[in-house]
């Protein structure tokens, strides 16, 4: 059973978002990392790039495949987790913590409210199993 923390927002592309003071932290879910398998490389954008909702901002390379990661919310990238360059395996080990990917200064602070909550995401996963 995938780990789905209560306090986060979820997308159907299996990203999570945590909003604090209008800044969204984005990563991928436990379910996503498990599906990808061992992650060997994470390609991230640069601070200052502007993203539209659902735009691809980077890619995750696992031993199985390369997958794009999409931002659920629009805005400017204010921080990027450069630690993932050296420790891509933390995407598998700690997807909701050490493996956060980008922080986005949200154009619309309410955008994340339209996303799935933990219960809805869990239901979405069980429907799509």
């Amino acid at each position: 059973m995938a780990n789905i923390p209560e306090n986060l927002h979820y997308s159907k592309d299996h990203e999570w978002v945590e909003v604090k003071d209008g800044v969204a932290t984005v990563g991928i879910t436990d379910y996503a990392q498990h599906s990808l398998g061992d992650v060997v490389y994470v390609d991230l954008p640069r601070v200052g790039d502007n993203l539209a909702s659902h735009e691809a901002f980077g890619s995750i390379e696992s031993v199985k495949a390369v997958s794009e990661v999409f931002t659920p919310v629009a805005g400017e990238i204010v921080e990027v987790n450069d630690d993932l360059n050296d420790t891509p395996e933390s995407v598998n080990a700690d997807p909701y913590g050490a493996a956060w990917m980008i922080k986005v200064k949200m154009e619309n602070a309410l955008e994340a409210d339209a996303m799935l909550n933990a219960a809805e995401y869990e239901e979405y996963l069980s429907e799509n199993e």
């Binding site: 490389y41 390609d43 640069r46 890619s59 390369v66």
Partner: protein, 449 residues
Amino acid sequence: MRYIPNSPEERGEMLKLVGLDSAADLFRSIPGDVQLNRALKITEPLAESELISGMEKLADKNTAAKRPSFLGAGAYSHYSPTVVDHLIQRSEFFTSYTPYQPEISQGTLQYIFEFQTLVCQLTGMEVANASMYDGSTALAEAVLMAQRVTRKDKVIIAQTVHPEYLEVTKTYTQHGDLKIETLHFDNESGRISADDLSNLDDKCAALVIQSPNFFGCIEDVKALADKAHSVGALLILVVTEAISLGLLKSPGECDADIVVAEGQSFGIPLSFGGPYLGLFATKEKYVRNLPGRLVGVAYDKNGNRGFVLTLATREQHIRREKATSNICTNQGLIALAATIYMETMGKKGLQEVAVQNAQKAAYAARRISEIEGFSLPFSAPKFNEFVVRAPKSADEILSKLLSEKAIVGGLSLSRYYSDNPNDFLVCVTETSSREQIDNLVEGLKEISK
């Protein structure tokens, strides 16, 4: 003996099936006035011995190949040990294409791995790919790679880079958002001055230089690399004469970020412009942005060594729109020839060839500069090529030298640079004998009188 595998009956059946009366009907859509409508003008069938002697007669008409030549400028005459040709003609190598189901072709992957290793040792860089088409397309790929790494769109290319490499780079990148600016050289030294880089700024993805440059002059690579790095740009070093790497300080030691080279000098004969071989090496931190194929070494669960294609996600058959390049092949056989050449020569052999080149060129340069009216316009140190300034038009002197003395004296620079019509480029390698050099000097003396 006929070489058409199907019989007239079988062809008749096929035609009947598609509803045609004759094979000629297949060409109906081609307008009659562009069809040949007659037999080719070739002789009747010949016996094998007649054919060979006929071909020999034709080959004898090609006197150009026998004339002493002092042409260089990106295509160099070097001695290639016979083992190179012998080994590459083994059918396992000669007939195999770049591996698309790679791991089944361990032999191919192993020699590519050896090639990459040798290119790294030679250039002093950390990672090299499985090769590119040639030096000029490798440069175009290097420029695009610098654009990806730095996310900047301006590239400065020194005017002392081979003009045809510049043209290829412009052609290759013309539909992207790359801006190419050129950088003038110093008229006294014949190279780029590190103090004169006014258009190098923080908008630059890369500074591109060549050493030895198009005039044969050795650039101050380290100083130029430092300048490029001071504004966050990469230093791309072009090497058109790979033999020079046997003598000069390695690009890695000079802190170049990307090295592209033409590998023709390594066991690949001069043959009307091809096939050539692009070498491409960089620092490990840029490996994700490298174009082309890359072979790595791996171990299976029993600890046996094997070779694999690695980091293939950069390539277009994985994610076309995100690929680092359109290239998904390499110069397999030619890279093998270069590998065998380098392994045969060894470090010491390569150094010896390089030293011979430099010494013979220095002798030729000194002798030519002693002829009345002739001079060497550029003061920078040289490898095996140098510019000569003649007392009259270089085109005229070179054409007389050819018609009266049967010597190909060099390359007139007027086709690339209009300012000095009397300048020409002379290349001297280990294949030029002392007698040939002396004849060149005597020829120039007589013709310029």
